[in-house]
Amino acid sequence: MKSVIKTCLLSLFIVNSMAAENSIGDKTVLNEPEAGSVSTQQGLDSWSRVYEVASHPRCANCHVGNSPYPMWSGPSFTKTQRHGMNINAGASRMGVEYIMCSTCHTGSNSEADHGAPGVKDAWRLAPVEADWFGKSSVEICQQLRDPKRNGNRTYQEIASHLGHDVILHWAWNPGGEREPAPYSLQEHMDDIMLWGVAGMPCPDDINSNLNDGVSYE
């Protein structure tokens, strides 16, 4: 417990002392820590929180990789299953081939139990490369730091994209009885930045280095 509190306080200190702050909207800012100010371990701590978000049903249910099937999982469901009604989002990722996601997922967010969530953006599956559902922390981490699989984005661009993309904001404000993604959008962006400044470390990096007999912070 002490180490958790220490980590949180450390993160707060780091975030509060960010060297640069760029507003990217009226609600979130891109906090850039100073180069070299975040240790690998601190970066890994940030990553573990990022993974909590990425693997949460509010995010992972639509990050289904090659599958055209959105998922239903999490506390609102008794079991993990494919989206009901035989929904298939197709290669378009937005259901153009069969029934468009926007048929039910409109600009209004239903507050009713199992009502259709909606945002003022096109409801759709995440890109195929962003394959998170059921994936481990290591697998998602390696995806996110790989330009070939993260939309050729730097960590700053990943964090900035989170601030700009309205459909993602729904995860922290899903309405009704839906469980929101952990932390907050701003905290999540800050964790991405901390992880990035630390060199985008992934949990298996440590194992790899230990196996090589290399000392790693």
Binding site: M85, I99, T103, C104, G107, S110, H114
Partner: protein, 154 residues
């Protein structure tokens, strides 16, 4: 507010957040569009907004401003049936009939994108429209016939 339904402009005095389905049924008396579940799980209320299928139980009235709304009453007329409506009669699809206007509106929207669908594609497209009577085999056949009509083959 003014909304356009079936090619006509209507002035309605409603709250912005009234479900569009209420506006259609209770304000404009277009009761061909049915209320089923109210949470976009059954498809009974399906209409078209700018030509695409939507569930008006999930839409606020204000979201219809400036859009072209089409209900089952505007898809075709008894004298000039839409191809999907004609196929529905040909195959005698309806049993109790409650879900059928939503089924027809979904099929009409789907066929704009898939002029020659397979059985599997029809099943994917129509599975979000529930039929308690289980008329699914007739729905599938009617969609295929409607597609052939729209392609000018029958």
């Amino acid at each position: 507010m003014e909304i356009n339904v079936n090619g006509e402009a209507h002035e309605v005095d409603v709250e912005d957040d009234m479900p569009l389905l209420w506006v259609l049924r209770d304000e404009l008396n277009l009761t061909g569009t049915k209320y089923g579940c109210g949470i976009a799980q059954c498809g009974a209320c399906t209409i078209h907004m700018d030509g695409l299928a939507v569930r008006p139980c999930q839409l606020k009235a204000s979201e219809a401003k400036g859009r072209q709304i089409t209900t089952i009453e505007g898809l075709g007329t008894p004298d000039a049936l839409n191809a999907v409506q004609a196929a529905w009669i040909e195959h005698q699809v309806a049993q109790c009939g409650y879900c059928q206007s939503g089924q027809i509106m979904s099929a009409a929207s789907f066929l704009k994108f898939k002029p020659n669908p397979t059985d599997e594609e029809i099943d994917y497209a129509m599975s979000a429209n529930l039929c308690r009577c289980g008329t699914y085999p007739r729905i599938r056949e009617a969609v295929k016939t409607a597609a052939a009509k729209l392609r000018g083959e029958v």
